[in-house]
């Protein structure tokens, strides 16, 4: 109770031990931190309830404004005007920026936001600042997110009349483990413990599983397996999942995702309306920021209107003699964003393919997220899946409701009516492996593997009497190792002198249900039972900022002297 509102945890960044020390002290709440909107829900005893802020909002804008001494977030703050958020004093879209380096295209796309996003293009974190009293005041996405989470926590505590510590967060499918650590960091700064992280569509899948379970109870029907395809597109990310559901168990068969969303559609349209937008905005004076805000609001408005009508008239006076007056049709809008829609379509197809599911076998197609009203998107999905869209789910509340259900299940809550007789069996969104066989990425745990999982692969040395070997762990699905996310690296030492190819270096990876990745590595000489040196255990990721540099530095320092190659497995499955 006496805890300070703004609690900054120790720098160890390790939360696993903390997690296990107090298994289920209270019901974890579900939080959906969207790129543009945010919501909180909790299991209320018989069903999930969405919490409301003092202004009776269930969905709150995700931003923090620095205009006063004390920063204020979208939970408590009341915007006097939409443009206030676009004045440069407010930071938003933190979810798009968190854990990304300044060479990332998503960061570059964010440079047209009203606040300052500065890049040096060398693979370090971007410089982010808010305009406070005509001065750029620096901050970080983690800090902004933490301030926002503190407000959410205070709101939840006020309503639930109890301290809130454990949370289930929804995250985009495409988030790397490094980005996940940044999210966890922000939570730790806000005094919250992450019980589970759920890829957004898997949270929706759990809600769907509960609905199916209830239908079975009510109709006394057969609890046959249902395959659901879930497509989620919000402001910042686009995710797809295929799940198989039966008896309240939601088994994730495949996941696919990318950092594309409404924000990209908006940017495309702004560029379409004002082709020289970037040069127009380069100096970032107060007037320019204001003009950009005008354009942004007008464009956003037009896009929303185009969901319901086929034509819209845009009239913006940007000042300085610049005026945009244009009639925009839905076809033109769809044409400008063709690439984004094509990418969405290919993601759906890829996910169905990875799940080894035929379109005919899909029972329900669920469309959620802020972009779910775009007619083109609905057409694409009904076209690919040859099926009408499932209408039993609120597209803006589905993810947070699913997260709250998971929070209750993982907190050990039982419901006498079986409403919590649920389980999500997650799958890995990205492959995890090591650098070996030259500069190749050798996956150890493949994409879409059921969690928890433990797999091992045996490697061996490439040089005679090689005494040490580097284990460099990456996450991703690109063949060329440097195109994947670097998670960490460590060295195995004490390999007994032997010709190359003789020592067996066993690299084992273990992901538990709370998505913690541990990498074990040990050396065994043929014919010997025990490892030649103590086995190493490393919790990943270990990299901090500037991970682009680390791999290069390792290459420069060691070259191929500490390399590994895979041993062809004999008769193993």
């Amino acid at each position: 109770m006496a805890e300070p509102a703004y609690l900054v945890a120790s720098d160890s960044e390790t939360t696993a031990e903390e997690k296990s020390s107090s298994p289920f002290p209270d019901i974890a709440i579900g939080i959906d931190i969207g790129t543009s909107q945010c919501s909180v829900a909790v299991w209320g005893g018989s069903q999930v309830e969405l919490l409301r802020n003092t202004r009776n909002q269930k969905l709150m804008r995700s931003y923090v404004t620095f205009k006063d001494e004390i920063p204020a977030g979208g939970v408590s703050n009341q915007l006097a005007h939409e443009y206030e958020m676009l004045s440069g004093a407010a930071i938003f879209n933190m979810k798009r920026l968190i854990g990304r380096v300044d060479t990332d295209p998503v960061v570059h796309a964010s440079k047209s936001l009203p606040f300052l996003v500065q890049t040096l293009n060398i693979g370090v974190r971007p410089f982010i600042a808010a305009l406070v009293k005509n001065m750029w005041r620096s901050t970080t996405p983690e800090e902004v997110l933490a301030i926002f989470l503190v407000e959410l926590r205070a709101m939840a505590e006020l309503q639930l009349k109890r301290p809130v510590r454990n949370v289930v967060l929804t995250i985009p499918v495409s988030f790397s483990r490094f980005q996940i650590t940044r999210i966890e960091r922000a939570c730790a700064m806000a005094g919250l413990q992450v019980l589970r992280l759920m890829p957004e569509p898997t949270a929706v899948a759990l809600l769907y599983a509960q609905q199916q379970q209830q239908n079975v109870h009510e109709n006394m029907g057969s609890g046959s397996e249902k395959i659901a395809l879930i497509f989620n597109m919000g402001a910042g990310f686009c995710d797809v999942a295929v799940s198989a559901t039966a008896g309240g168990v939601s088994q994730i068969k495949a996941l696919a995702g990318t950092a594309l969303g409404g924000e990209d559609i908006l940017l495309n349209m702004m560029r379409h309306l004002l082709p020289d937008m970037d040069s127009h905005f380069s100096t970032r004076g107060i007037d320019e920021i204001r003009r950009m805000g005008l354009l942004r609001v007008a464009t956003q408005d037009a896009i929303h209107k185009l969901s319901a009508q086929s034509n819209v008239q845009i009239d913006v006076d940007l000042g300085n003699g610049r005026k945009i007056s244009k009639a925009l049709g839905r076809e033109e809008f769809e044409d400008v964003n063709r690439e984004i829609f094509e990418k969405c379509e290919s993601l759906i197809k890829q996910c169905l393919h990875d799940a080894k599911v035929e379109v005919e076998d899909v029972s329900d197609v669920i469309l959620v997220g802020g972009c779910s009203n775009i007619p083109k998107l609905r057409n694409i999905i009904t076209g690919v899946c040859k099926r009408e869209i499932y209408n039993g789910i609120n597209p803006l509340e589905a993810a947070v409701r699913g997260a709250a259900l998971e929070g209750a299940v993982a907190s050990g809550v039982n419901d006498p009516f079986g409403s919590l007789d649920l389980l999500t069996i997650q799958a890995t969104p990205l492959s995890i492996g090591v650098r070996a066989d030259g500069n190749s990425f050798v996956p150890i745990i493949h994409q879409n593997t059921t969690m928890p999982v433990r797999r091992d692969v045996i490697f061996t040395t490439v040089h005679d009497n090689q005494a040490e070997a580097l284990i460099i762990v990456y996450e991703g699905d690109e063949k060329a190792v440097e195109k994947n996310h670097l998670l960490g690296y460590f060295k195995i030492t004490g390999i007994p002198p032997a010709p190359k190819g003789v020592p067996e270096i066993n690299v084992c990876m273990d992901i538990d249900a709370s998505n913690v990745l541990r990498v074990f590595a040990g050396v065994v000489m043929p014919g010997v039972q025990n490892p030649a040196a103590p086995v190493m255990e490393v919790r990943m990721p270990t990299v901090d900022d500037g991970h682009g540099w680390c791999a290069e530095a390792l290459n420069r320092t060691y070259g191929s002297t500490l390399d590994l190659v895979t041993v062809q497995k004999k008769g193993a499955h």
Binding site: A246, E406, V409, C508, F520, P531
Partner: protein, 290 residues
């Protein structure tokens, strides 16, 4: 079968290396993890051979994909770490592994072949000491109360199955006839029977507990016929019927089919019509050819 059964029990009460009682949770985490990785690395052969994925999931060896799926989900609902807490990790790992293998046709075939080899090495029934005789000893384990009298009197012939707590014939005529006579007479429930040698094999097979159909290892798991002699009778009848059916088929189809076609048809017929019975059938064929 027996060695894998003891694995079952391990799964019930996970071994101390994998799950610590709560008071041990304060032990440094690396210690526990390191042990588990050593199990992975060094204990691989032992672990892999002692576990049977079918028993883990509590399904029959010829279970359909749907049955495996249902059983897997039921078990996950009990053992998944979301529900069972951190201690569910190892169980969920094993379930995932079993599920992955059994759900993929090629992996399942490979796996079936690998466990088939193991069960071949396992002696199913009693062995014979000396020449074959027309009569053989058989313990009806359903009736046996585990008094150990027979083992006491004729220890070379009878043995106790410590898992089931019942006596069983280890070696036919392992002791002299007098001792055997005493032990048969000393049985308080008269569960030691003299049977025809031809019947012995079927009886010994049928008395073995078989995994019962159902979900997991809770509440059911193992089953054997209540009256093993009746079961043997109907089993023999079925086998005879099978043979007749087969003969009828081969007779009527010989003219227009090549031998390969006939064989394919025959095996397809078996698959389709006989279903669950095929397992016993193939065992019979194997044991008679030996």
């Amino acid at each position: 079968m027996l060695s894998s059964f003891s694995f079952h029990q391990q799964f019930f009460r996970p071994n101390p290396f994998q799950t610590h009682p709560p008071f041990n949770l304060n032990k440094p985490i690396w210690w526990r993890r390191q042990n588990s990785v050593l199990v992975v690395r060094c204990g691989r052969d032992k672990v892999e051979e002692s576990k049977n994925y079918y028993e883990l999931l509590g399904v029959c060896v010829d279970a359909s994909a749907q049955e495996i799926k249902d059983a897997y989900r039921k078990l996950q609902k009990k053992y998944h770490p979301d529900i069972a807490g951190e201690k569910g990790h190892e169980s969920a790992l094993m379930l995932n592994k079993a599920y992955k293998v059994l759900m993929k046709d090629d992996l399942r075939k490979q796996y079936d072949a690998s466990i088939g080899r193991i069960s071949d090495n396992l002696r199913v029934g009693s062995i014979w000491e000396g020449p074959l005789r027309p009569q053989a000893l058989f313990v009806d384990e359903n009736a046996c109360i585990g008094c150990r009298e027979c083992v006491h009197h004729a220890g070379n012939t009878f043995m106790m199955d410590e898992v089931f707590g019942t006596a069983r014939v280890k070696v036919q005529y392992g002791d002299d006839e007098e001792r055997i006579e005493i032990s048969v007479d000393s049985c308080p429930v008269n569960c030691i029977h003299w049977v025809d040698r031809e019947e012995l094999e079927v009886l010994e097979y049928l008395i073995q507990p078989q995994p019962k159909e159902g979900y997991g290892i809770y509440g059911q798991g193992w089953d054997r016929p209540a009256n093993v002699f009746m079961a043997a009778k109907s089993f023999n009848k079925q086998v005879k019927q099978q043979e007749e059916n087969q003969q009828r088929y081969t007779k009527s189809t010989d003219e227009e089919e090549t031998p390969a076609q006939a064989q394919a048809r025959e095996s397809a017929y078996r698959e389709l019509k006989v279903g669950r019975f095929a397992r016993i059938w193939s065992w019979m064929k194997r044991s008679t050819s030996q």
